[in-house]
């Protein structure tokens, strides 16, 4: 089994799950109630993260009964079926109950005693998947997680993800105050706390071409603290107009011999990193001059706080969609299309920003990942040459910086209001579409297949499965 980090841990909790849980725990009777959460496990350089996948409510008097030693307890049959499910799906098991109070909470001595009595046995059943407990107050949560070998770790924070990003701690935390001078105008709008949130964010940008270049510039200027970037391509003269702050020398080093001039062109990902550093010299940047789909590259994106997809391959869409749902990371796909037929006629010109929130419908459900094109992308050029393909007319689809800018501005603005907690709870979750020729804005409602292999909670689904489920990556 892959090693699991034993560190103070974070819990990612979908807003809908939190709402359902809180309705159960705090119905207004002032009493104690119970549940179980099964969560995917993610270990990274940022420590341990659990991604809540399933909520199992314990019915009072049936599953949650008067305790032999403590006030209440989960019945053995209820625990048994859930711990076996955790074992089979390779998920962490978290027993949940509530206490009174509001902004701080902790386990009682009786709670800890029951952990010490029961969790070593549960760890045997779970075959090494972590086992633990959560206790909630109205605005606080504490957690105690057990690992094989008798190790334990406390919950650091719970991150509730819906339209807003909400953090819940075991007790009130004094947030780092003070903003850097250059962000002062933004800070007045969002407050020092909001600026500190952005500085603490790690965002991933997949694809640093025309759209990705703009995303990097906007996010850098907002003050996002950490970036993970990936793009395999070098700049070319033809795409310089769409790359922010690009120079001719990025694409062609004219003093070199002709054969080397474009071969030593600058990588787009390094150009984006340059722009981010110019905007925010303190930003931490990890840049991969590579294809996103390689296993060792994709792993760097699984503990980002937000993902931006600006690459147009089906392979990138599949992997982005998988990481969003498997690791509970909200993201957005941006794109623009200028369809041109063989006769040179321009069709409907549009751009899109599609927020992908775990559990809210996904790129696969909505038919935006083409299985045949996935196959085409995966085979080598050498193999493809041997195939008897029907030759499609080769029309180069044009790309335009203004379209990219509209989609990216919408996407980054949406991210900003999400991350700082300023987005309305009831804000729309539609997919944004701008049609340039009609000058119309449209909002597409994403569909959601209830047996989707990516975003549903069917057993076959990768939703919330963390490290113990394969990603569609290339070796």
């Amino acid at each position: 089994m892959a090693p699991i980090s034993i560190t103070p841990w974070r819990l990612v909790l979908p807003a809908e799950m939190k709402a359902e849980l809180f309705q159960h725990l705090f119905p207004g009777d002032g009493d104690e109630h119970g549940a179980v959460i099964l969560a995917g496990v993610c270990s990274s350089d940022r420590g341990l993260k659990l991604v809540a996948r399933e909520l199992h409510l314990a019915v009072d008097g049936v599953d949650y009964v008067p305790g032999r030693r403590g006030y209440r307890m989960l019945k053995g049959e209820f625990i048994q079926s859930r711990i076996r499910r955790a074992r089979d799906l390779k998920l962490a098991y978290l027993a949940v109950h509530n206490h009174g109070g509001t902004t701080s909470v902790s386990f009682s001595p009786d709670d800890y005693a029951s952990h010490e009595r029961g969790y070593p046995t549960l760890l045997d059943v779970s075959r090494g998947m972590p086992v633990g407990a959560l206790v909630f107050a109205k605005s606080a949560v504490a957690g105690d997680l057990w690992f094989e070998g008798g190790k334990r770790a406390e919950l650091k924070e719970a991150i509730v993800q819906g339209n807003q990003r909400e953090i819940i701690w075991p007790f009130p935390v004094e947030r780092a105050a003070g903003s850097l001078e250059k962000y002062d105008r933004q800070a007045r709008l969002f407050g020092d706390v909001g600026q500190a949130v952005l500085q603490g964010q790690r965002v991933g940008i997949i694809g640093l071409g025309g759209a990705g270049s703009i995303l990097a510039e906007l996010l850098g200027r907002l003050g996002v603290g950490e970036f993970v970037l990936v793009d395999p391509d070098r700049a070319e003269l033809t795409n310089l107009p769409r790359l922010v702050a690009s120079r001719r020398i990025d694409a062609v080093i004219s003093w070199l011999p002709k054969s080397l001039r474009s071969r030593l062109a600058r990588y787009k990902v390094l150009m984006a990193a340059r722009n981010i550093r110019r905007a925010n010299p303190n930003a931490k940047i990890t840049a991969f001059k590579s294809n996103f789909v390689f296993e060792q590259v994709a792993r760097h994106f699984v503990d980002c706080d937000y993902l931006f997809l600006a690459a147009d391959s089906m392979s990138a869409r599949l992997l982005f969609n998988a990481i969003v749902h498997q690791y509970g990371i909200p993201g957005v796909q941006v794109g623009a299309k200028v369809p041109v037929d063989a006769a040179g006629n321009v069709g409907e010109v549009f751009c899109v920003a599609r927020p992908i929130l775990p559990g809210n419908g996904c790129l696969w459900c909505n038919g935006l990942i083409n299985a045949s094109r996935l196959q085409d992308e995966a085979i080598s050029d050498e193999t493809r040459k041997q195939y008897a393909y029907v030759a499609d007319p080769q029309v180069v689809a044009p790309s335009v910086i203004t379209l990219n800018a509209i989609a990216c501005a919408h996407a980054v603005d949406d991210y900003l209001f999400f991350a700082t907690g300023l987005k309305n709870l009831e804000a729309e979750r539609y997919w944004f579409r701008w049609n340039s020729r009609k000058a119309t804005v449209g909002y597409d409602l994403p569909r959601r297949d209830f047996d989707c292999t990516e975003c549903s909670v069917a057993d076959v689904s990768r939703m919330g499965r963390g490290d113990f489920f394969g990603l569609p990556t290339r070796s």
Binding site: A371, S372, A378, A388, G470, S475
Partner: protein
């Protein structure tokens, strides 16, 4: 050479189980997928040949990626001598001349649309031409 990933290995096991009389040879493609060649696939009418080999690639993104095209013996011909219809053409599989069968899947469901099911559909289509 990078071995096929777990999903591809499962697909190969399913092919072997469904076609026990058709020897299967697997070659890793180096990216986590595999090139598959199966022998002694029954044919018959409307085809002049009684059996063929069949080859195809299961790529690393299986079961999300479609499994196509498929390749059969290069000398495939109809009993009635008519030319091939749509979906059949001349290509190469691993450098060897072959007849290419191009049948893309629409609305692929990764939970149910296995490589075995795809092969069965392709063979059913081939025998129905």
């Amino acid at each position: 050479m990078t071995a096929p990933n777990a999903n591809v290995v499962k697909a190969i096991d399913e092919l072997r189980a469904c076609f026990p009389d058709c020897p299967l040879q697997m070659t890793p493609d180096g990216a986590g997928g595999a090139l598959i060649e199966m022998q002694a696939i029954p044919l018959g009418s409307p085809w002049a040949q009684s059996e063929t080999w069949i080859g195809f690639q299961i790529t690393y993104q299986y079961p999300y990626a479609d499994v196509y095209p498929h390749f059969v013996r290069h000398d495939l011909s109809r009993e009635d001598k008519k030319p091939f219809g749509p979906g059949l053409g001349q290509g190469h599989f691993r450098g060897v001349p072959a007849v290419q069968i191009s049948r893309r899947s629409n609305k692929l469901n990764p939970a149910t649309d296995t490589a075995t099911l795809k092969l069965l559909k392709v063979l059913s289509w081939l025998r129905s031409q």
